[in-house]
Symmetry: C2
Subunit: 309 residues, 2 copies
């Protein structure tokens, strides 16, 4: 693909400075998607590196200054901070601009951000399903979104041209795009992302508090499977706290199903039900094959990771 | 490291043909650890590739033929098959030989295999904590054990020279070696390997049976965390069935702790306890750092895996 002859957006404002912002900046510049990229970060400690690395051409201490005159504004902050940021920048938004976000919960964004967006501004919540366990301005890379899915959840009555333009933006950044209802998104992500993270955090926590197995043993012998869980349990604690506080109903529902199934599995182990275990374990392989066929994971054994030694 | 001037063993018999056998064969040949490698597999369908790829110099239809005249015999079969294999080969074992295994549960191996081993033969259960989600004769590679831990659980009174020799063998194959009591091993592995696998199988199963989220959605949007779990849920079903049937007590104990902690976390979400969530999620990062510092995982984001696109 060659660079677009004309940038899709004049001024993109990235609100926040973390993994997604830094990856977005790289991806936008890779294809010349915007004429200029500006940013906002609350603390000088993140504003400085954002400028120094060249993630943004200008960086501002307020969201309003960054959003001023921008035709695309992307909120990239923990969900709990988005309402306040939207309120701050609302007076600076120009008619026809698109406001979106990248949060892992969409119902809460509709509720918290929606009311602050002035008439004439297009509000289209979004969620690129991509990430790593790292955070901060230096953690991003242009390829983060390549081949992944970005879900957009435009409220009823959203301008179709604005949705198409935002979808084209994400495609230019490497993503596939899917349109979905916000509540359905939150249900899907509860099982594909939120509950997996919760379980990963939980088993790491359980392992840390055992009396009969030491922390050193857990770490030394983690290659038997445990270490796979610690990767996602190393994700940003503030971001994840906000996900669970803001997608409570869907997470509790999926967690209920998970626990019910785990109890059945526990019973099968207790009573030595060999066939049940074998059938269940065999079925799980089909899902893995599906994910690899869909290009959502590598087929290389062990994720293709290499040991240090 | 250069090849040993004199092989450590004359004839190593690998009983079974899967990931561990094929990796062991590569690792043994890499350092010239044995003068010859022979094997046993039940079906011609695995015997043929084992010979063709050169994993073994000779392959036999019975364990007894493979074990005959061997000075090191390594049982590499699902735990439930090891007792019978030991019984079959017992009459062929020569005095002074070492019999070991690679199973993920050690108490059961002591109980099932131990009674068949004749006096004068050294029986030292072992467990290399290394693997991938792939199985079969073509899935192995010489580096599988490099930098990983192999746990040996010699019963009381085992000949020290034999233990030292087996430890030296594993070190020559790239492993670190730890000596441990069989019951303690089973407790440690329950939390670092068995319960993680069970949870991974379980969430894949839960996701497959939801009414409100389709299998296609689970697969498409798996990059949010779910796909990490599917890797270990793709492991060999027979091997894992036998692990759970044979390490019941330790798995049920650890599962009880996991569920207790998960219930507390669920309650914290229900009542919006932001500080509890944040503290827990922050603590989990330390374990990840420990694992990376101990060389048991890569520090590259996302395990260093690359998307296909």
């Amino acid at each position: 693909m060659t660079a677009a002859p004309q940038p899709m957006f004049e001024r993109v404002a990235l609100i926040g400075v973390g993994l997604i912002v830094s990856s977005l900046s790289h991806a936008i510049r890779r294809r010349g998607v915007a004429r200029s990229i500006v940013g906002h970060a609350q603390s000088a400690k993140t504003r400085d590196p954002a400028l120094r690395i060249g993630l943004v051409g200008s960086v501002y201490a307020t969201a309003a200054e960054a959003a001023h005159d921008a035709d695309l504004i992307i909120l990239c902050a923990p969900i709990g901070a988005c309402g306040r940021l939207a309120q701050d920048m609302a007076p600076a938004l120009r008619a026809g601009a698109i406001v979106t976000d990248v949060g892992s919960v969409k119902g809460a964004i509709v509720r918290e951000v929606g009311p602050h967006i002035p008439a004439g501004v297009h509000f289209i919540p979004g969620h690129p399903i991509a990430g790593t366990e790292h955070s901060g301005p230096e953690s991003g890379f242009a390829e983060l979104f390549d081949g992944r899915w970005c879900v957009l959840t435009p409220p009823n009555g959203t301008d179709k041209a604005a949705v198409d333009k935002l979808a084209a933006f994400w495609r230019a950044c490497g993503s596939n795009v899917e349109i979905m209802d916000a509540d359905h998104h939150d249900m899907v992500l509860a099982i594909t992302s939120h509950v997996p993270h919760l379980i990963a955090y939980n088993i790491v926590n359980t392992a840390r508090h055992l009396e009969r197995v030491t922390d050193t043993e857990v770490i030394k012998f983690s290659a038997g499977g445990f270490r796979d869980f610690t990767r996602i349990a190393a994700s940003d604690p503030v971001m994840w706290r906000d996900v669970f506080l803001n997608n409570k109903e869907a997470v509790l529902e999926m967690l209920g199903r998970f626990s019910e199934d785990l109890t059945a599995l526990q019973r099968a182990i207790r009573f030595g039900e060999a066939d049940t275990l074998h059938r269940l374990f065999t079925e799980a392989r089909a899902t893995r094959r599906g994910i690899i066929q869909a290009g959502q994971d590598t087929e290389a054994p062990d994720f293709g990771r290499r040991s240090k030694s």
